[in-house]
């Protein structure tokens, strides 16, 4: 049973435009959410996180939005750059130190 879902396996965006990656979850106990970026043959790299007490967290070009009532989070990248091309995973957990539940990933391609 997939508790974290990324329904778009791929996304293509023009350089300079906004990339929006979406993620849905089913477990209302989740209180900590993260986005990871993964290049081929490398492990996932932590990008940005948000706790359930917030609805937005921003770090440079990356902003994560959390809608608890809809059990939905999104990652906005603006402006998108070719180096952002990678697979993006969202992950969720509840309580400190617990395992993360990952989505299946969205492959982002930023076209120069």
């Amino acid at each position: 049973d997939q508790q974290v879902k990324q329904n778009s396996p791929s996304l293509s965006v023009q350089e300079g435009r906004i990339s929006i990656l979406n993620c849905d979850y089913t477990n209302s106990m989740f209180d900590y959410f993260l986005w990871y970026k993964k290049y081929p043959a490398e492990g996932p790299t932590f990008l940005i996180s948000i706790s359930s007490i917030k609805d937005k967290n921003e770090d440079g070009r990356f902003t994560v939005f959390l809608n608890k009532s809809a059990k939905h989070l999104s990652l906005h990248i603006v402006p998108s750059q070719p180096g952002d091309s990678a697979v993006y995973f969202c992950a969720a957990s509840w309580k400190t130190g617990n395992q993360f539940y990952f989505g299946t990933g969205t492959s982002l391609t930023v076209i120069p």
Partner: protein, 112 residues
């Protein structure tokens, strides 16, 4: 500083053999996690250590899988009587309490 390292980076073995996969976490990280990632999927949780003890091993698929962390730093994931279905990328991650998990590059295991 040094990130999470995993050895070997690739391992090819025959069905029925025993393998050991090693993880060196980031210095000072008390929490260590093992995940398994199959093609087209997100990482799936296997086991979590807090210090030397396994705090949660609910993700281990069966008793052929075992992991240790005897001194609270380096961890070894052990797989007995390997099967072709064990072929995957095995990822290790570490974290401080309440922080994001930082992943290593993974070990690509192929069971022939």
């Amino acid at each position: 500083g040094a990130g999470v390292s995993q050895t070997p980076s690739n391992k090819v073995t025959e069905k029925g053999k025993y393998v050991e996969l090693r993880c060196d976490p980031i210095s000072g990280h008390t929490a260590l996690y093992w995940y398994r990632q199959s093609l087209g999927q997100g990482p799936e949780f296997l086991i979590y250590f807090q210090g030397t003890g396994a705090a949660d091993d609910s993700g281990l698929p069966n008793d052929r899988f075992f992991a240790v962390r005897p001194e609270g730093s380096v961890s070894t994931l052990k797989i007995q009587r390997t099967e072709r279905g064990d072929s995957a990328v095995y990822l290790c991650a570490s974290s401080i309490a309440g922080g994001p998990q930082h992943f290593g590059p993974g070990t690509r295991l192929l069971v022939l």
